[in-house]
Amino acid sequence: MQKLLLLGAEAIAQGALDGGMSGIYAYPGTPSTEITEFVQASKEAIERKVHSQWSANEKTAMETALGMSYAGKRTMVCMKHVGLNVAADAFVNAAITGVNGGLLVTVADDPSMHSSQNEQDSRFYGKFAMMPVLEPSNQQEAYEMAYFGFQLSESLKVPVLIRITTRIAHSRAGVERKEVMNENTLVLPDDMRQFVLLPAIARVRYKTLLKSQEAFERSSEDSPYNQFVEGPNKKLGIIACGIAYNYLMEHYPQGCEYTVLKISQYPIPRKQVMELEALCDEIMILEEGYPLVEELLAGYFRKGKTVHGRLDGSLPRDGELNPDLVGKALGFDVSLDEKVADIVANRPPSLCVGCGHRDAYSALNEAMKEHGDGHVFSDIGCYTLGALPPYESINSCVDMGASITMAKGASDAGLRPSVAVIGDSTFAHSGMTGLLDAVVEGTSMTVIISDNETTGMTGGQHSAANGKIEEICKGIGVDPAHIRVVVPHRKNHDEMVQMMKEEFAYEGVSVIIPRRECIQTLARRKRKEAKQKS
């Protein structure tokens, strides 16, 4: 078959489609977004009616996928790493219920935080939930792990976590496809109590999960993705996990002189690790992310063979690996000099010219003048750029939804005014429940839902609350007299400032909705309309 030129994220989508997937569930988040977008655009997926609509958040996505698995079909749920924090309750318990149809949880980590607020390593979640984890080292492997992953999940009777990182998600290479497998037919679980985690049943299911660990480990030891290659030089044995394997082999295109264990399936393959330990004087561990394998093998007392990696300073403790850092750890003479000419200036990302968030912040800054700095809690989205010059309007960005709840806590502590700024998609994701808390207590605070009618930051996906925001606020119990909508535009500046001042003075929950379509989605829509006309 001819090779397709695919991003790692797209390779996973294609692999899942070819592996018989019936539905994909996700909330967007860099670097995972392209997986679902690929399925949404795939002709075959549309013909097969593979579900691919966005979910309101990662938890609803995870649970919906679990429901599809319950009904016997193969399904994937995708998210960025911090999304797994949101989905964690469902995720951890899904290991205990087990699956019926194959269930793959694809999580994209972002070491070096290219577009994230932390660099947490999802392999720990896999270990925590006691699930098998797959970690592709290249695009072809990404394809195959998704393709064969459903079978693995079905044969081990447990969800399988596929962990990727930015570098593989957003890098393209040629990928060879396999024959398309049929989708499963609808079939209920054999044991109708499998998914009922009442304590008495949960205890039994948990013991089953514990007992399965041996089978999971054996599966890792026999996995085609875990490769052991003995080298002539026994001074060092190298364990390279996932994409770190590439940075190792970049220095040994003709084959490595040391013994190498490539790990791309967990739990850690004990047999091969023991073999490596017996064979080599010292051990070097290369992993993209936290030192998970290293911590385990080095041990608290460091009494075994010397282990090198991120903990002993051979590699930096944080940030993404690259060929130079790995080369240096291996003793190669590499350049680490990144100094650029003094005249090269930084270009921080900024809000687009013409963006409605700009007008909302201009008004907010003026309305806030009499109160001073420190009253505005914000959230995650394009509008977070309001933290940077020229606006410098906001004082927090922690996790999706935290603007509203933090503003409530600060108001409870006596801060007046206490203001939240949140986007429409973030509000739908996890702002609504916090607003309910505030309404229940009649907290004195103002929530600005800066509505650009899309999920802007991640490229303009459908926003779940689109067209429903006022109704949702009313339904939650906000006084309709204090739900105010305005078009954020320079010509409405004074009106907006006045509106904010009034609501800041109100002792209760108020909502201001500056609403104007994202100029990026607007431009795209105009281009499409023009194309359809011609």
Partner: protein, 197 residues
């Protein structure tokens, strides 16, 4: 054969269409290729780059080493300078000269040109003007691609075929205009290389 290229510019300038043409040409010539892109946050007017690796042998790393690139191909002059630490000693800088100024502390034209010209192997291309002469300012990316052609280690016909594939749906006229832009860019680079020898 092995060519490591860093393509750079500012979010929204469309560097990905350049890598798409090169990537397609590479696959059609049975070469291995890997291309790491930047998506997300930095696309909002920030600096963006793509690591493009082409080789007749299998490629491991998605990222290019410091001092490892054979070519920096930039659609913006200051952005070319940002990646000079990645350039090998014999590598070339091929850049558009039209600045994209969305920050207050953008360097002066003079300082910028001095810095670029201090580099031993540099091809400066007024791609916007050349593209306009060829029929559309929007083809300036393709002019830059043409200017990179002598350094790619691939037959020029492969790039022409890539252009035909990518623009084919838009009609003969657009294809011809882009082919003209591609050739015009190549001529500029060839002249500079000839003078350097």
């Amino acid at each position: 054969m092995k060519t490591d290229i860093i393509i750079s510019g500012v979010g929204g300038q469309g560097i990905l269409s350049i890598s798409a043409v090169i990537g397609m040409a590479a696959l059609d010539n049975d070469l291995h290729m890997k291309q790491a892109e930047v998506h997300g946050m930095s696309q909002r007017g920030g600096d963006v780059q793509s690591n493009l690796r082409i080789s007749s042998e299998p490629i491991y790393s998605d990222l290019i080493s410091l001092k490892g690139a054979d070519l920096i191909l930039s659609v913006e002059p200051m952005e070319a300078l940002r990646y000079v630490p990645f350039l090998s000693e014999s590598g070339w800088v091929v850049t558009n000269t039209t600045p994209f100024k969305n920050i207050d502390n953008y360097p002066s034209d003079e300082a910028l040109m001095d810095e670029l010209n201090s580099h031993p192997h540099v091809v400066l291309v007024d791609a916007d003007a050349i593209a306009k002469d060829c029929g559309s300012a929007r083809a300036s990316n393709i002019v830059m691609l043409g200017a990179a052609a002598p350094f790619l280690g691939m037959p020029f016909e492969a790039l022409e075929a890539g252009i035909r594939k990518i623009f084919g749906r838009k009609g003969e006229q657009i294809v011809d205009m882009n082919l003209k832009a591609l050739r015009a860019g190549k001529e500029v680079a060839e002249r500079v290389v000839a003078n350097a020898q």
